[in-house]
């Protein structure tokens, strides 16, 4: 019963680590509440809730900084903060832009990038952008800290590489003009407050008519958000011509494995994803 679930509101990372070290069974992490509270309201799996570790006020998890060619985003950074951050807008504007497409203002004020990453929903709106940006997730716990590349972090449907005694501390994105620009498009079910039907992110640098440093990532088209490596291979290093674009869109079909669900069906997802990828790639030709 919800009223008997104990909560520890940690005020420091050390306090959070101490609780994690106890390895209490059923320990759940609570940040902004936009996911955990929905589950509790719906009565989903309440019996599996042990203690709740409330990290909302852990200062070490906040803050956005640029240091040494890296954009460093604290796990508790909210969508509103991502939208407002000059650092994000300058170095990874796609992330600020997609934040405006998550829920609506009240959700943006409480939802966090850490929540989006750790919930690992295949529909997580920031995830394709993070995958396409070669993001690194910094994890920490009583046993120490480590970093896991985004494309190794999502190991199964809503399953991540996070150990039971670890927290996501921050997301780091390498930034340099070498790496080109990240663009994305979310195809939602409606114009606000919508879960995506499909979402694609592409990073590339247009090098005199050819594409370099290509990264393509997609959400809602598999059980995990994923890098589309066959599509990447078809586009990376190739001249930016219609043939390249069609080849990449065709190759995309081998990368993705969409299903039918309440929001959309597999066939639509395949067609829309290919069409969106095509337009995003075309966009690099206009630089």
């Amino acid at each position: 019963m919800i009223s008997s679930i104990p909560v520890t509101s940690a005020r420091s990372l050390a306090e959070a680590y101490a609780l994690l070290a106890s390895r209490e069974p059923g320990l759940r992490v609570l940040a902004g509440g936009t996911d955990v509270m929905v589950q509790l309201n719906a009565g989903f799996g309440i019996e599996r809730f042990g203690r709740v570790l409330d990290i909302w006020r852990v200062p070490e998890l906040r803050g956005v900084r640029i240091e040494e060619g890296t954009l460093s985003i604290g796990a508790l950074t909210t969508y509103t903060e991502l939208m407002a951050s000059a650092a994000v807008r300058q170095t990874l504007p796609a992330l600020a832009a997609v934040s405006a497409e998550v829920g609506a203002a009240a959700i943006q004020n409480r939802g966090t990038i850490g929540g989006n990453v750790c919930n690992a929903s295949p529909a997580g709106d920031t995830l394709p952008i993070l995958l396409a940006s070669d993001a690194l997730f910094h994890l920490g716990g009583p046993r120490g800290e480590r970093a896991v590349a985004a494309d190794r972090f999502f190991v199964g449907y809503r399953k991540t590489a996070l150990a039971a005694d670890e927290l996501l501390l921050r997301v780091e994105v390498p930034i340099s003009s070498d790496r080109g620009e990240v663009v994305y498009r979310k195809v939602g079910t409606r114009r606000a407050q919508s879960i995506s039907k499909t979402i694609l992110a592409v990073r590339a640098r247009a090098d005199g008519g050819a594409l370099a440093q290509v990264r393509i990532a997609a959400g809602c088209v598999a059980e995990v958000p994923l890098r589309c490596r066959q599509a990447e291979a078809a586009a990376d290093g190739r001249p930016l011509l219609p043939e390249t674009i069609s080849a990449a869109c065709a190759a995309l079909q081998a990368d993705i494995r969409p299903i039918d669900d309440v929001r959309s069906d597999a066939e639509y997802r395949r067609r829309a994803s290919a069409a969106v990828l095509g337009r995003l790639l075309e966009g690099f030709g206009r630089e």
Binding site: T189, R190, R191, S194, I195, V262, Y268, A272
Partner: protein, 739 residues
């Protein structure tokens, strides 16, 4: 100065203006009290145990012996002392299933407890033992017809008309369920009375439906039940009959526990279990001339009623009566049947069968225009009903017809012709990433109950004198549409008082006359008119009294702006006369009965005659663009013209039109109920999507006032007229076809 006639309502000071709504202040300050805001002393909470299978023999209900049931009240069908039947049309729906489960989410048992968490936990410890039976989920395969209708309009000439037609066009159209999604879920509290009866408080549209249903369930007399409507957070038909079920459940628990029982549905429960718009499959076969003139139609409609009859016969009736649309047909044969499936019963939702059948006829008109290569607007104009025309039931339209006027207004305001041409050019351009389209549709909606409905109902409403003005007496409910305010306007004008002098009595079945349910776009036209009549009668009485008191000639006295005057001379302020009457003569109360105008007759067997006293008309133009890559639709502009007879309160009237239009846009573009094995998959607001503010554009409304001579101030109905979704599809067709 001319003295306005007391017998005719043709002018108003308040009517036609838009005074601030009476309940506005409470609503914007959070003071308005909805059911869940109220606390009843000693209250406990109630929840419903439901079937998870769509069709089964119910073998029994067991309560887990390992669970601690102390302090939890449990009710099953065996506890029902009265009739286990939800009174409505057919006596087929039980409050709690007894031997057979006929739909998923069918109520089987009830629990109540003061501790809500224990109550939630308890639900999982009730076992419903069933022997599943094969469910019928496809209405086209159902063998149980709840009701069927046939409209035969010179049908003997059909074969010949089809034979000589230049073209025969066929089409089949399908619409699915729609969920009302009122933001306040169903909520009722039952409070046991000392006399063994029950008082019900709740969110509802029709207090007397609940009253009668509970009399029967609890086997008590009429005086032992009282039903009070609380401020209701939306209904749209979804709280027409379903509250009887919730109230019955709360009452059964209240009776057994001896405590007030509050039942507030969870959102997912409300979506999963309560009534929805009837899905329909509609087949059209139309004989047309080359120039677009309609010659004949054969229309066949099958509606899915769900597991129990509820209101299906009436929905199907309205559906069949509107299936030919706002057009003139020399010959027509229109059949409609509503059938049973093993899904939760469907019920009322704004439009009540009309959005479904009008959608189909409008789609058919579009198809005809395409096949004949004519402008769809021209096909509509050519065939639109006009004054003096006959409908397929043989009703001669004697007044208030505005089909052409609405079409023309909308075509002009939307720039239809120019845009159509421009979009065709743009869409044909190579590499066009967005295709644009504009479509126009035409609809009508019969105002008030069908046929003899009002004559049978004998709605009663009235006014009583207060020291400073008057109090309106009726059971009609404000569910957001503004009932309280328009009643006050109409009473104020009839009495010659300012609007603030009027109060509206609480909708309480133990105190109010039965003015009928808040449905069928009848509240203003029927009940408002009756209230105005009663107010006029009360005014005449007071004018005579004022004349007596002040030595004037009774026939010279009238009340204006709160003052009794005779031949330009002030006699006394209203309050003085009112208080004097109350002191000397006691209360003054006038209740009138609605009288259906003469000569408006309908044969319910042959389905011939005047189905409705009058019709509302609307035309709508929708401009949109479709993303060629993702098929995402963006609504760019909506213009709608609606003839409501008289806009008693223009802002409220626009509010109905804008709100209804957006519901229709939602139905066309976003809302879909998704089923699996007889259960709904998307029962939450996260996955059944209604429009947000950024999903819909500005809706431009043109209010057309073509008075209905028997309506108060010429007013007809408005609530349901805007709810038809066909307009969007027309525009999408246009865009997709690249036109």
């Amino acid at each position: 100065m001319l003295r306005p006639s007391l017998d005719s309502l043709t002018e108003g000071r308040a009517v036609g203006q838009s005074p601030a709504r009476l309940d506005g202040r409470d609503k914007v300050t959070g003071r308005a009290l909805y059911l869940d805001d109220l606390t009843f002393p000693g209250q406990v909470f109630g929840r419903t145990v439901r079937s998870t299978v769509p069709h089964a023999r119910l073998l029994g209900v067991r309560f887990d012996p390992a669970f601690d049931w102390s302090g939890i009240t449990r009710v099953t069908a065996a506890d029902i002392q009265g009739d286990n039947v939800v009174q409505l049309i057919a006596d087929d729906q039980p409050f709690l299933a007894r031997d057979v489960i006929r739909h998923a989410e069918e109520p089987v048992a009830l629990l109540a407890c003061a501790d809500r968490e224990r109550l939630e936990a308890a639900l999982a410890h009730v076992f419903v033992d069933v022997e599943p039976l094969p469910p019928v989920l496809d209405p086209l395969r159902s063998e149980v017809v709840f009701k069927q209708y046939l409209i035969d309009h010179a049908a003997s000439g059909l074969a010949e008309a089809f034979a000589r037609a230049d073209r025969v066009v066929e089409g089949t159209y399908l619409v699915r369920h729609q969920e009302q999604m009122y933001i306040e879920p169903n909520a009722v509290c039952a409070v046991p009375r000392e006399d063994g009866g029950m008082t019900l408080h709740g969110s509802m549209q029709c207090p007397f439906y609940v009253h009668r249903a509970l009399q029967r369930l609890l086997r008590v007399g009429e005086q032992q039940i009282s039903v009070l409507q609380t401020v209701t957070g939306g209904g749209f038909g979804g709280k027409e009959e379903y509250p009887s079920m919730v109230a019955g459940h709360a009452a059964l628990l209240a009776r057994k526990s001896g405590r007030p029982v509050k039942m507030v549905y969870r959102r997912d429960e409300d979506v999963a279990a309560t009534t929805k718009r009837h899905p329909a499959v509609m087949r059209h076969r139309t004989a047309v001339q080359r120039d677009g003139t309609l010659l004949a139609c054969e229309i066949d409609v099958v509606m899915d009623g769900g597991a129990y009859v509820t209101l299906s016969p009436v929905v199907a009736s309205r559906g069949v009566l509107h299936a030919a649309g706002a057009y003139r047909w020399p010959h027509a044969r229109i059949a409609c049947r509503v059938v049973q499936t093993n899904t939760p019963p469907n019920g009322a939702f704004r439009g009540f069968g009309v959005p479904q059948t009008i959608f189909a006829v409008e789609a058919q008109i579009e198809k005809i225009a395409r096949e004949l290569q004519l402008d769809p607007l021209e096909v509509r104009r050519r065939n639109a009903l006009e004054l003096g025309d006959e409908t397929p039931t043989g009703q001669k339209l004697l007044w208030s017809v505005s089909a052409r006027e609405c079409l023309d207004a909308v075509a002009e305001r939307s720039g239809y012709a120019e845009k159509r041409a421009a979009f065709a050019r743009e869409n044909a351009a190579p590499g066009a990433r967005r295709k644009r389209g504009i479509g126009i549709s035409l609809a009508l909606h019969g105002a008030g109950f069908t046929g003899a409905g009002e004559a049978k109902l004998k709605a009663r409403a009235g006014v009583e004198l207060t020291p400073d003005g008057a109090r309106v007496l009726s059971i009609s409910t404000d569910i957001g549409q503004g009932t309280l305010t328009v009643f006050a306007q109409m009473a104020a004008d009839a009495l010659g008082l300012p609007v603030p002098a009027i109060e509206i009595a609480e909708s309480d079945t133990s105190r109010m006359p039965d003015s009928g349910p808040t449905v069928a776009s009848r509240t203003l036209m029927v009940v408002g008119g009756t209230i105005a009549k009663a107010a006029q009668a009360l005014s005449r009485t007071l004018c005579s009294f004022a004349a007596e008191v002040h030595g004037a000639v009774a026939g010279d006295v009238l009340c204006e702006n709160g003052v009794f005057i005779a031949r330009g001379r002030s006699l006394a302020p209203f309050g003085e006369i009112a208080r004097r009457w109350l002191a000397e003569r006691g209360p003054l109360r006038v209740v009138e009965q609605y009288v259906h105008p003469q000569g408006i007759e309908f044969d319910e067997v042959s389905y011939r005659g005047a189905a409705y006293p009058c019709y509302g008309w609307s035309a709508t133009a929708v401009e949109l663009s479709v993303d060629a890559d993702t098929a995402e639709v963006r609504l760019d502009h909506v213009v709608t013209a609606c003839d409501v007879g008289k806009a008693v309160h223009p802002i409220l009237a626009e509010g109905q039109i804008e709100g209804g239009t957006v519901q229709a846009l939602g139905y066309a573009l976003l809302e879909e109920v998704i089923w699996k094995d007889g259960r709904i998959l998307n029962t939450r607001m996260q996955n059944y999507l209604i429009p947000t503010a950024v999903d819909v554009p500005h809706v431009e409304t043109i209010l057309v006032e073509n008075p209905y001579p028997h309506g108060p101030y010429g007013a007809k109905g408005i609530g349901e007229l805007p709810a038809t979704p066909e307009r969007i599809l027309r525009a999408i067709d246009a865009a997709k076809a690249g036109r």
